[in-house]
């Protein structure tokens, strides 16, 4: 590859990181400045949060179920099926709840944000908004960012709960385990560090989903083809970042809390 091309790619990458940092910095700071678009925040919270409830419920339930099925099958070899509830609840709350919920919300909303804002970019609606005296970051990005962070937090709690219930349904009705024992071990094993870990992740992942979705939307160029490209990139980048950052947060939390 010619040196010039490598240099040009490196410059573009650095510029993208700079633009992303500036956009997210402004989007975060805008909440402290007037005007605040509270109505837009509520609309986004409804669209992102309430709109995602069905997919989060379904994903959570079946993940918990399959986790119970697989765990019980492995634990049976050691005669330890009694701790199926413990395994399901720890896995759901620390890892699968936050990560799977975020991936589902990313697929649904990072793409939605990128395509919506991207379409507005290529049809000059963003420029029109600026020409009409409105800051598009304040009006479009800030409400999406805060709405995603807030709603993903609650969606994750919902997913954890439904996942644990899904595990219980499988354990009790398919594997013939005792329901009381399942819930007892599921509850007893949880400690505060587990809960904190499970609740910090959706806040970070929510930020990633909204900021990446909005960034790709706001930097869309090249007509409808560009909108398609931005949408795909938003989902790919946010999903990869979620999984990569999950590793970092997990390592950090284990380092801090020792579990």
């Amino acid at each position: 590859m010619p040196l010039e091309t490598i240099e040009s790619i490196a410059k573009k990458l650095v510029l993208s990181v700079q633009d992303y940092a500036l956009l997210t910095g402004r989007a975060i700071g805008n909440i402290f400045q007037r005007p605040r678009y509270i109505a837009d925040l509520i609309v986004q919270a409804d669209s992102i949060g309430i709109g995602s409830v069905p997919i989060v419920l379904l994903t959570g339930f079946f993940t918990g179920g399959v986790l119970a099925l697989q765990s019980a099958s492995s634990l049976a070899q050691f005669g330890a099926t009694a701790i199926t509830g413990e395994l399901v609840s720890l896995s759901m709350i620390k890892e699968l709840g936050p990560v799977l919920t975020s991936l589902m919300v990313s697929g649904r909303n990072a793409s939605g944000m990128a395509s919506e804002l991207g379409s507005m970019m290529v049809t000059e609606q963003i420029d029109a908004m600026r020409a009409l005296g409105t800051d598009p970051v304040k009006k479009l990005v800030t409400p999406r960012l805060y709405a995603t962070v807030i709603m993903l937090f609650f969606l994750t709690i919902l997913s954890d709960t439904v996942g644990t219930l899904g595990g219980a349904v499988i354990s009790v009705f398919m594997l013939g385990q005792d329901g009381s024992q399942y819930f007892h071990t599921a509850y007893q094993t949880l400690q505060y560090p587990d809960i904190i870990q499970g609740l910090v992740k959706p806040i970070v992942f929510g930020f990633i989903i909204a900021s990446v979705g909005c960034y790709y939307g706001m930097t869309t160029r090249g007509g409808t083809q560009g909108v398609g490209r931005s949408t795909t990139q938003a989902v790919v980048v946010s999903s990869v970042l979620i999984i990569a950052i999950d590793l970092v947060i997990s390592q950090f939390m284990i380092g801090v809390f020792g579990r």
């Binding site: 049809t123 000059e124 609606q125 029109a128 908004m129 600026r130 020409a131 009409l132 409105t134 800051d135």
Partner: protein, 278 residues
């Protein structure tokens, strides 16, 4: 009858002779390629300046520079006596309250009704609801689209969308209007309707404007016609007269190759201008 918004008190300049818009030695390029080079011109109060040039000559870029939507690489742009290239975005939002802009394809917000599109700026400024409704209807009456108030942009024709865009641009009674190819892609009859609206705004409210077009017919209609308020349509200026407040700019390859009156333009000896006009 004409019932369009009247200019506000802010339309009165601190210095009445002060140019509304001044470009001084402005240059800009994208990805290392120059788009506009050393552009200098001014728009005086009440002037309508028509910016001509072939496609891709940087006309729309120039218009976006005038509104501070993009910033020049060098040179200075002064709007209402304020240098905008060093202003913060928040300050520009204030200044843009005095500028109306009509985008090439209208750029209406497709998720909002016509009413909410036209009222957008007023709603943002927290103007009382009753006044918003009244001013929106005034603006829509000006473009003769009162009946579309509850429709969405997708339910309108291309020409109607441009007219709504004009209504949105004039609803807050701006002191300067920037038109980006308002007739581009429209059929001749619809184009004439749009030109008439631009003329109406010019002759009835004397709003300064900068209009980008590559349609010579529209440009010369503006230079040779005037808006008759009693007849409510445009009529030719008697004795083959020309509108003294309407004059031309021409871009070619990123350079301003003409800045002058209609008379000077049609009598220019510049080979490019002669070829462009032929």
């Amino acid at each position: 009858m004409v019932t369009a918004p009247q200019p506000t008190a802010s339309a009165v300049q601190e210095d009445p002779g002060q140019p509304v818009l001044v470009f001084e030695d402005v240059s800009i390029g994208f990805e290392g390629k120059p788009v506009l080079e050393n552009i200098s011109f001014k728009v005086s109060p009440g002037d309508t300046r028509i910016l001509l040039g072939p496609a891709g000559s940087g006309k729309s870029v120039l218009l976006k520079l005038a509104n501070g939507l993009i910033r020049p690489d060098s040179g200075t742009i002064t709007v209402f006596g304020e240098e905008i290239n060093t202003m913060r975005e928040e300050q520009l939002f204030q200044l843009r309250g005095r500028i109306g802009m009509v985008f090439q394809e209208g750029a209406l917000f497709d998720s909002l009704t016509v009413r909410d599109n036209v009222a957008y700026r007023l709603i943002e400024q927290k103007v009382p609801e009753a006044e918003v409704t009244q001013r929106v209807l005034e603006a829509l009456r000006f473009v003769e689209l009162e009946q579309t108030v509850d429709k969405f942009p997708s339910q309108l024709s291309g020409g109607m969308r441009r007219r709504v865009a004009i209504a949105r641009a004039i609803v807050n009674r701006p002191d300067l209007i920037l038109y980006d190819s308002p007739t581009g892609g429209l059929d001749p009859i619809t184009s004439t309707t749009i030109v008439e609206l631009v003329m109406k705004q010019r002759d009835v409210y004397h709003t300064s404007s900068l209009l980008v077009t590559h349609r010579l017919q529209d440009a010369f209609s503006l230079a040779t016609h005037t808006f008759d308020r009693t007849e409510n349509h445009m009529v030719p200026i008697p004795n083959n007269g020309l509108d003294p407040k309407t004059n031309f700019l021409m871009l070619h390859d990123g350079h301003l190759v003409f800045d002058g009156s209609t008379h000077d333009l049609v009598h220019s000896e510049d080979p490019f201008i002669k070829e462009y006009l032929s």
